[in-house]
Amino acid sequence: MSTTDWTATDAGTALAAGPQAPPRRKIAIICSKGTLDMAYPGLVLANAARMMGIDAVVFFTFWGMDIIREKTVDKLHAGIVGNPAMHMPNALTPIPGMEAFATKMMKKKIADIDIPPIREMLETLDDAGAELYACKMAMEMMDIAEDELIPQVHEVITAMDFYDKSEGAQIVFI
């Protein structure tokens, strides 16, 4: 008996479910960065998934923890240093005040096209039924207590828990 036999059996079971029940699509997004420009893509993708009936799981880890901390959620900055896509001379980016300026500009542009601020985006996601999870290891590493997180976070989970939660999902790492 070859080791691939179970795959065929498994697929057979899936097929037996019939065309009436296509597998539900699911997406799992890992948010690992804490800058404004890295926070939005994950949240917008998760929200768009829910808007069209795709299950969504968002897992925050490392610098992404800033997105779900009460202390920092409203104060995310645009990451401009070393980012050639900012279209400004790289040598200018470390000048004090430059980052604050770029952040302000970005927030304004985002508001102009009616995209909510990060905190509201997270509330939207929660209302839409997306599941938000925080990384246990990152919490311990950065000495973050559970009550420091925004209330929309469902649970603090481990990496292995993440795989349970994202079973059958397509995984996006941001």
């Binding site: 795959t7 498994d10 029940a21 829910r50 009936g53 795709i54 839409a128 469902h154």
Partner: protein, 325 residues
């Protein structure tokens, strides 16, 4: 005064021997019966092992001439391989095997007896002409390899271009795979890997994702029909191809397909979506529906479990919303 059926404190005892402090000459009848049953079972096991041993002896007798020849052949090959130093590492394994053999318990022996026919079969196969020929060639190559210089990494890489080397590598890989399979234990089947396929609506906790029984419909190309026989063309994403043909019946037909029963609240949303879509050219996103109709977002997701933006637009006969929120 103490008699046979009362103890020191004058209480009656059920067993007269308790008072006298001596054990009875024979244990109770039920214990004896249990013992007999055990002995019977053991006898049967021993008998079974013995019968199997007899069978094996017959088999071995039949095989003896072949085995003798094979042993002579194998001994010569092994000797050649030994002289070329190939078994230096094997000696440790032999010592380990010896230890294992001395530590065997009867249970292991039974298992060994069961696998003996298999071992004999292997021996017979391994003494087939092709195999002995292969062993010959291997021994020769080993003897050759001892005299030449060790190949450099570059040479090793280049030799991988030879089809013969590659075939040999393939064989080695197959052998390694078989070893890996074997060492995992034949009785342990590989654990089923997690599959993408999930039951419809497998949701967790208190989330308001699609409830059980409602699957996300895959995009339906083609057409959709109402109960009265009217028919509408759909585009590749499952949206109404020609929005001018829309009617409430179309909405109802799509809703049935999506497992939805449309209520007045649904139609409040759908009317807004149609009206807004007519003006803006594309269906509104969820954020806009919430802001304009005043229906809470959570409620909206409850009304349209297949995704409010996609589903409302589809039922309303519009295209997918252009908004991302």
């Amino acid at each position: 005064m103490i008699n046979e059926t009362t103890n020191r404190n004058g209480f009656e005892t059920s067993e007269p021997w308790e008072a006298s402090g001596r054990l009875p000459a024979t244990p109770p009848r039920d214990e004896l019966e249990a013992l007999h049953a055990k002995i019977d079972a053991l006898t049967e096991t021993v008998g079974r092992i013995d019968r199997r041993r007899e069978e094996l002896e017959e088999l071995v007798e039949d095989l003896m001439p072949a085995v003798n020849g094979a042993m002579v052949l194998l001994r010569d090959r092994l000797d050649l391989l030994d002289r070329s130093g190939a078994w230096a590492n094997g000696r440790g394994a032999l010592a380990a095997a010896e230890t294992a053999l001395t530590a065997l318990d009867p249970h292991d022996l039974e298992a060994l007896a069961e696998s003996t026919p298999e071992l004999l079969r292997t021996l017979r196969v391994s003494t087939a002409p092709e195999i002995t020929g292969l062993a010959d060639r291997l021994a020769e190559s080993l003897a050759e390899a001892r005299h030449g210089p060790a190949p450099s990494l570059w040479q090793l890489g280049r030799s991988a271009r030879s089809p013969r080397v590659r075939r040999g590598m393939g064989v080695a890989l197959t052998l390694l795979r078989a070893l890996g399979e074997g060492s995992r234990g034949a009785s342990v089947p590989p654990p089923p890997r997690r599959r993408v396929a999930r039951g419809p609506g497998n949701t967790t906790g208190a989330s308001c994702q699609t409830p059980v029984g409602v699957a996300t419909p895959s995009p339906v190309a083609g057409s959709i029909s109402a109960a009265d026989g009217s028919n509408w063309e759909l585009d590749a994403d499952g949206f109404l191809a020609d929005s001018t043909t829309w009617s409430r019946d179309f909405g109802e037909a799509v809703a049935v397909q999506e497992g939805l029963a449309l209520t007045d609240v649904h139609w409040t949303v759908l009317d807004f979506v149609r009206q807004d879509g007519a003006g803006a050219g594309s269906a509104p996103g969820v954020r806009r529906i919430v802001a304009e109709t005043g229906i809470a977002q959570k409620e909206l997701y409850r009304l349209f479990p297949g995704g409010p933006a996609r589903l409302a637009a589809r039922i309303a006969g519009l295209k997918k919303p252009k908004s991302c929120v």
